[in-house]
Symmetry: C2
Subunit: 129 residues, 2 copies
DNA sequence: CTGGTTGCAAACTCTTTGCAATCCT
DNA sequence: AGGATTGCAAAGAGTTTGCAACCAG
């Protein structure tokens, strides 16, 4: 929390009450969430403010976008470990996947990769029972 | 072309002039295209018809969705080889990437993967010069 | 104080649908 | 002929912005 608000201030932005609440929500849930999901966790804040704050957080690297094949953009707090996700299309649970083959792709193709989507939807072991 | 219209008819749908034109466009370009890009290649067809036809093509498996991190949904003709893409954010060229680690992910996680996004954006070797 | 930020409302853009006319088979 | 399909227009949904009031530093 401390470091989150610090990042914000260091980037030259104010730590306002709405932003503080947003950071708490993101920290509490700690899974990729859509703007609507975030907003429903703190509906006292106007949607436009949620929108602008999350957009700002994304710009200064506090949160990251996650793009599943369902086309809903989700956001989660950046943590230091690069990872991707598995979304169960039955129960909706999102699990982290500590695998990425970015550097292999770069070597293979000679591209400099700036963005990538590497997310999976499926049925989790539990829902298969 | 022949097999494309056959798939359509076999699925119980009519091969109309607009659909025929669409199939030609998809075949000619043969890269993932947004609905707008497709429509601009055949602007005599109403956008709503492009939308509905591509949606239908997708449902019967004639085309597949491609989701890059730029959040624009693109479509391309399904071909028998499963592949993913590299989009150069400078020149816009899209290249195929014949790599996928789907089965590895399934083994690793015990999920049954139903959808996945596995697309890359970056700078291509040519644009780096 | 003072410029950044918020909430409200409205504008935009993109996606989707209803319906009468038209087209395949 | 008759149901599927099209084009037009408009409805929906989600995203983005202008602006006056407000607040953190």
């Amino acid at each position: 929390m401390q470091n989150l608000s610090l990042t914000l201030k260091k980037s030259g932005y104010k730590l306002t009450t709405p932003r503080n609440i947003l950071l708490k929500v993101l920290k509490k849930i700690n899974k990729p969430m859509t703007l609507n999901e975030i907003h429903s966790e703190c509906s006292t804040i106007d949607f436009a403010s949620v929108y602008r704050s999350i957009k700002l957080f994304n710009e200064i690297g506090l949160v990251e976008e996650v793009n599943f094949a369902d086309k809903k953009i989700r956001y989660e707090l950046s943590n230091n470990s690069h990872h991707h996700h598995l979304l169960c299309s039955k129960c909706g649970e999102i699990k982290e996947l500590p695998v990425c083959i970015l550097s292999e792709i770069e070597k293979l193709t000679n591209y400099t990769i700036t963005k990538h989507t590497f997310e999976f939807m499926g049925i989790c072991p539990n829902c298969k029972k």
